[in-house]
Symmetry: C2
Subunit: 334 residues, 2 copies
């Protein structure tokens, strides 16, 4: 498709309707969106999870994905983090006038494809267009509804002393990949974003192991920010073992070169899981059966003191505090 | 509160958490948001409605409201249009670096206040910050979940020949007010946006009158675009009587001066309702008991032919076609 987005595409008139038909419905086709009015309708009963995320990443296209794939994965993973099966997504587009149709379609196509892979339906949407320089290419909001199965009780406040902390794979891939894309650094590292939906893998785990205390995806602020949040929310201490944290050699290399810490770099296809010691090894083995979980491992444990703090046992044998970051190393990472 | 938003406020670190605590939780306080993790959780059973809308209006503050009030009203009204009782909202903020805290707080305060008035809870949110000139002050996405009571079956495809078409008040107020604000026109008209939540008024109507065929709020593209959509979706014709369409004198004056048509101007606190002839007068009388419905009246009816077309019987006695607008008269109206 050739052409560009104009202000008329956000007008709510005929031009908007053509855009919806030719691009959005083409890739999001499902039984609910086709009969949608100003809202989608469906029957649902139980304990629901509801979340929202806006995506403003730059660049819009990156190794391992684009803003559309990221927008579906991000919201799906937030639902999965509470043990919810993601069912329905909304999408809100804010587009800068002048965006080429083919770029928009590539983004929308990635959303449709990723949604299909995860088993979620994009059921309602909205499109706004703003003038040149009033936005940066495209921003996408996805909100999502999922259903939580009986027996699961996963929350950031659920960590208990003795819990083992699992990471489902290597740390820092997304942040490092975006950094390289953006800064056009002359480093010949072939690092891809880990951007991926985790819900299907995690559903397999929660079907077998009902007792999962906490799950959270370490996105903005990385593992460091996420673990600090959980330590504060649960009122516990967290001890990490630096030598057990999986980091790809290339990511480690880039981080050392630039003075960045992979623990503070964003991930978009990883989950931190807090589980009882007794099932930790079995969960890791189960995770490793999945392509998103091959590098899963136990990286630490929950301790009683110091409450609200994350301590790391370093490779050189010392202990240091892993602080909550004040700001991110890299803005607009998601 | 003094100061401005910086990129650190969107980092997911300590600065973000402070912003959430000091501004968002202060105004959105409720039992669910306070225990929210990456998603809010609640129990719900029945036929649900789910919708999303992004707001990019400029200027952000206008007579009769601001982008925050609009963001709550818009999504609440989209749910109410399907006869759903709005329950839960999400909010996603995209903020341009440099926005003063006091402006953000005024917007968030309006959201909290409006949500309270409508009886909805803002239960989950997200904040992103982009650099100067990568967005225009602030964009807000709200998504919403509502529950549809048994017995209601309201949809854009439900219009039937013979139905009477009600508008709940005067037409064009929002569009006209924004036009005046934006263009700094030297017109001394005191026109306010009609931005208002309609759910409580409409719930009273649907409690008494179960047979409502269509409801839709005529926002972008105005009454003209909305009626054209309904005519197409229901496969019917629509006949309007120009002399019955309520337009404030000042709005009519400004429109005549500028060559605009109030039928194509956005409304943010009005609903179009398609109802059986037999109950139309009673519904209008009931609507008029409410402050958002004092100017309610019947403006037209559904006819068999020409299908998919909106015809207006003009004041001068002729008939003309009211076309679907190709683009809006005014971009970024919501």
């Amino acid at each position: 498709m050739t052409g560009i987005i104009t202000l008329a595409h956000g007008s709510g008139g005929k031009t908007t309707n053509d855009l919806i038909k030719n691009i959005f419905l083409k890739h999001f086709r499902n039984d609910i969106i086709l009969k949608s009015d100003d809202a989608a309708t469906f029957n649902l009963s139980g304990k629901l999870a509801f979340t929202t995320d806006s995506f403003v990443i730059t660049p819009v296209f990156f190794k391992g994905g684009n803003i559309g794939k990221l927008a579906v994965c991000g919201t799906v993973n937030d639902l999965a983090a509470l043990g919810a099966k993601p069912l329905y997504l909304s999408c809100g587009f804010i587009i800068e006038e002048g965006l080429p149709f083919d770029e928009l379609e590539a983004i929308v196509e990635a959303m449709g494809k990723t949604a299909k892979e995860c088993g979620v339906k994009i059921v309602t949407g909205d499109t706004k267009v703003v003038q040149k320089n009033a936005a940066d290419k495209i921003f996408i909001n996805t909100s999502g509804i999922g259903i939580i199965e009986d027996g699961l009780n996963i929350s950031g406040s659920g960590a208990k002393a003795g819990d083992r902390i699992i990471i489902t794979g290597t740390v820092g891939d997304h942040g490092c990949s975006i950094l390289l894309e953006r800064e056009k650094l002359e480093i010949s590292a072939d690092i891809m974003s880990d951007c991926a939906p985790l819900n299907l893998m995690l559903e397999k785990i929660s079907d077998k192991f009902k007792e999962i205390h906490v799950m959270r995806d370490p996105t903005r602020g990385g593992v460091a920010a996420t673990l600090n949040e959980i330590a504060a929310q649960s009122g516990v201490g967290i001890k990490l073992y630096e030598d057990r944290i999986p980091v790809k050699d290339q990511v480690r290399g880039v981080c050392e070169l630039l003075g960045m810490d992979p623990l503070y770099m964003a991930n978009e296809g990883k989950m931190l899981m807090f589980v009882p010691e007794i099932s930790a090894e079995s969960i890791v083995n189960e995770l490793r059966q999945n392509k998103e979980g091959v590098d899963a491992c136990i990286i630490g444990e929950v301790i009683n003191e110091p409450k609200g703090r994350v301590i790391i046992n370093t490779i050189t044998g010392g202990n240091r505090i892993v602080d909550m970051p004040v700001a991110d190393q890299l803005p607009r990472i998601c």
